[in-house]
Amino acid sequence: MRVTIIEDEEILLDILREKFSREKFEVSVARDGEEAVPVISEAKPDVILLDLVLPQKSGFQVLEELKADSELKNIPVMVLTNLGQEEEMRRALQLGAEDFIIKTQYPLNVIVEKVKNKIKKI
């Protein structure tokens, strides 16, 4: 199982990486919007966890680029963010995100379960 985590907050990135590694995931990470697509192209993950508020390029822009890329567009993207307004949620889903998770609302275990379920469905 491979997951790419795109997250700019070092503290959150650390803990997500640690947790997913413990759950036997092969974890790759990107810290800003610019790095995201090259890292994903390289890692070919089963699922992408994408933050929306990112330096250089926003998560929305990354999502657009992923969906425009014929090789990457089929990798499920789960938005993992602390934004949570209706408008932001609708926009992310419209752009092709499969899930919109607000970080504060879920324990890590549940987030890992959601990712695993997504991979099982494929």
């Binding site: 503290i11 330096p55 602390n82």
Partner: protein
């Protein structure tokens, strides 16, 4: 040999003399202080003299050869004055001051003086001979020079007019074309009558027509000079023509009917039947007259007022357009396109103002660069000047201030109207020249006057609507940013604590996760502090409890806090505190916060390997009070001109700042300024623009 004056000659000369005098005086009296008008009357005087002397030269008194030669030479003397005067007039037109430089003016005078004096000597005309009984002057050696001077100035005048025609726009161009017409007509005729006939064909046959020629010139110049919407003669001409049509039609019908009836009845005497026909006819005329009149008037209106629109309909269309949208761009475009199309105006724009400064321009025909140029234009000065005309408008052709006229020329404006709403100047309407080159009519001005108050309200509404949209977007962005900033540390704390509770960890790992959770708490506290401080600032509760504070200690504490980020970006930090400002009078927490905000911005927005300089020194301000100035200087992303206005506003973050560091509340400079203000100090900044670095300074009073 010497013929007496004929009646035709006398009458023609008299008419020309009277017409030129009338035009000259009429134009001069309209504006005696203008050099265009002064040169016009000067030319009129010279031409009057020319006509008189020309007449005498043809019928000399006493009738001798010597006397005729004397008068002919005087004609040439006056001819020498005509072309340079005309040149000066055309060069000056339509300005009030002579535009020619002094040394060129002197050259014109000297050349003319030489040519004029030469005309009185045998150099131009040696003598006059009488082959076939007609007087024919014999050219002297100086004739080519004289001719060169005369024709030279005509040619230069012509060139001046052509250049002006090419450079001028709208109404000035239209006026200029009258001048061109006059000059071409006059000098081709004059050359034909006086030069070609006399010098080449050696006959004075056409000379008697000479007097009429200058009338054409003077009439076209006069019309160009005084052309004005109040002198629009079209309505009078149109009405006269319509009545002539009417009379001709009625007379034709009446006569034809009488003739036909007389033919059929075979009688010319007036009996009861003829009378009946007459009565019926009269009744017919009386009944059909109004309809006929309307028809003929419509016909002539079509001929003479082809470009004229229906004012009522235009105003109704305009008000419909104004109420159709609240979008500022769309409103401006719709309204101005309609106005420009109906009035046949080449360009039109709204200049939007904020506190008497032009901040934006929306329009049609001026192009993007043209509209942009309005923003730095001196036109905003007009907010402090009231037009003295009624209705209140600045109309190019009525302006007396030459400097203002030049501004209008530069920005291609023919009419400017301030637009007021809620008792304040909110915008300016500017209109360019008419595509036809016509002047604006009285009807145009009336329509504009009726249109301006309504559009003032419409523009105001559109701007309020835009502001509301911006405010709503700002609010939405604020909620988004605040929720993100508060949730981020909470999610960090939650997940770290979850790990500690649920996973099997080594003691060192446990400590690390606990440390992360603690960092989250600190971060959350800071974010809450900033938001609450911003609320405090709104309520203006801020004061500073000043004590002696150790500035070097604060500097090193702040730099220590950012040491991780500084190392990560490999920044060089120079800190220099002058010995005179090691101890300052301030509230430690507030001043530390200010320095922290400025240093954090410098570090976050610096490029890798950039340099940050932090200094403090004491100085005496302009008001002789001692103060300490702290400066934080970086080589980072800098501040652009449009961002400068907003940098101290709460929640403002530049686009570039969002790209480089997306998670920020945009409260830093807002709080820093308020904290410095609470100390009685001030905060200012300087940046040459994007990626040119920024200097932030704040001062604290030393006593």
């Amino acid at each position: 040999m010497f013929k007496p004056i004929t009646a035709l000659e006398a009458v023609l000369s008299l008419i020309a003399f009277a017409a030129i005098s009338f035009l000259g005086l009429g134009v001069y009296l309209r504006n005696p202080r203008s050099w265009t008008h002064r040169l016009f009357i000067l030319l009129a005087i010279i031409l009057d003299a020319y006509i008189g002397v020309n007449l005498i030269s043809l019928h000399p008194l006493p009738p001798t050869q010597a006397s005729q030669l004397f008068w002919i030479r005087n004609v040439m003397f006056l001819a020498a004055l005509i072309s340079p005067t005309l040149f000066l007039l055309l060069h000056t037109f339509p300005r009030n001051e002579i535009q020619l430089r002094k040394r060129y003016l002197a050259a014109v005078f000297v050349l003319t003086a030489v040519s004029a004096v030469m005309a009185l000597t045998p150099l131009v005309f040696e003598t006059v001979r009488y082959p076939r009984g007609e007087p024919v002057p014999v050219s002297g050696a100086g004739m080519p020079l004289f001719f060169l001077h005369f024709a030279g100035f005509i040619v230069i005048s012509f060139v001046v007019l052509l250049v002006k025609q090419f450079r001028s726009r709208g109404e000035e161009r239209a006026k200029n074309s009258y001048l061109l017409f006059g000059v071409i007509m006059t000098f081709s005729m004059m050359t034909a009558f006086t030069i070609v006939f006399v010098v080449v064909l050696k006959t004075s046959i056409g000379v008697f027509l000479g007097p009429i020629v200058p009338v054409i010139l003077m009439a076209s110049i006069a019309y160009a000079v005084v052309k004005h919407r109040f002198l629009d003669i079209r309505p009078v001409v149109a009405r006269s023509v319509s009545y002539i049509f009417l009379v001709i039609t009625v007379a034709a019908v009446y006569t034809a009917t009488l003739l036909v009836s007389a033919f059929y009845l075979g009688k010319s005497s007036l009996d009861i039947r003829t009378l009946a026909v007459g009565v019926v006819l009269a009744a017919g005329i009386a009944l059909t007259f109004p309809f006929l009149q309307t028809f003929v008037r419509k016909l002539t209106d079509k001929l003479f007022f082809r470009g004229v629109y229906d004012a009522q309909k235009l105003l109704a269309d305009l008000s419909r357009a104004m109420s159709a949208t609240l979008d500022l761009d769309e409103l401006a475009k719709k309204v101005l396109t309609l106005l420009a199309k109906e009035m046949r105006v080449s360009k039109a724009a709204f200049l939007l103002a904020d506190r008497h400064k032009i901040i934006d321009a929306k329009g049609v025909g001026y192009g993007e660069a043209g509209l942009k140029a309005f923003k730095d234009s001196p036109l905003e000065l007009l907010f402090h000047r009231k037009p003295d005309s009624e209705p209140p408008a600045f109309i190019f052709q009525d302006l007396s201030d030459e400097a203002l006229k030049n501004i209008f020329r530069q920005y291609e404006i023919e009419i400017l109207m301030p637009i007021r709403a809620e008792e304040d100047d909110r915008a300016i309407l500017v209109l360019g020249h008419k595509s036809s080159g016509d002047t604006y009519s009285k009807q145009d001005i009336k329509v504009l006057d009726a249109f301006v108050p309504g559009v003032g309200i419409a523009l105001q509404n559109a701007r309020l609507y835009t502001d509301l949209q911006l405010a709503s977007a700002a609010k939405s962005r604020f909620i988004s940013v605040v929720s993100h900033q508060l949730r981020t540390p909470v999610s960090g704390m939650r997940w770290n604590l979850e790990m500690i509770r649920q996973e099997k960890l080594r003691p060192a790992q446990k400590r690390a996760f606990l440390g992360n959770a603690y960092q989250g708490v600190v971060f959350l506290g800071e974010q809450l502090d900033d938001i609450l401080t911003a609320l405090d600032i709104y309520d203006k509760k801020l004061t500073a409890n000043k004590v002696l504070v150790d500035l070097p200690a604060i500097f090193s504490e702040v730099l220590e806090e950012f040491s991780g980020m500084i190392a990560a970006k490999a920044l060089t930090v120079d800190s220099d505190i002058n010995h005179d400002s090691k101890q300052i009078l301030a509230e430690a927490t507030k001043i530390k916060k200010v320095i922290k905000i400025l240093v954090k911005n410098a570090v976050v927005y610096s490029p890798a390997k950039g340099k940050v300089i932090i200094t403090a020194h004491a100085e005496t301000a302009l008001d002789q009070k001692k103060r300490t100035v702290v400066s934080v200087i970086d080589e980072g992303m800098g501040i652009t001109e449009p961002e400068r206005r907003h940098i101290t506003e709460e929640f403002f973050r530049s686009d570039q700042a969002r790209v480089m560091f997306p998670s920020g509340l945009g409260l830093g400079i807002f709080i820093a300024q308020a904290f410095v203000g609470a100390h009685g100090g001030s905060l200012w900044f300087y940046s040459e623009g994007r990626n040119k670095g920024a200097d932030f300074h704040f001062s604290l009073p030393s006593e």
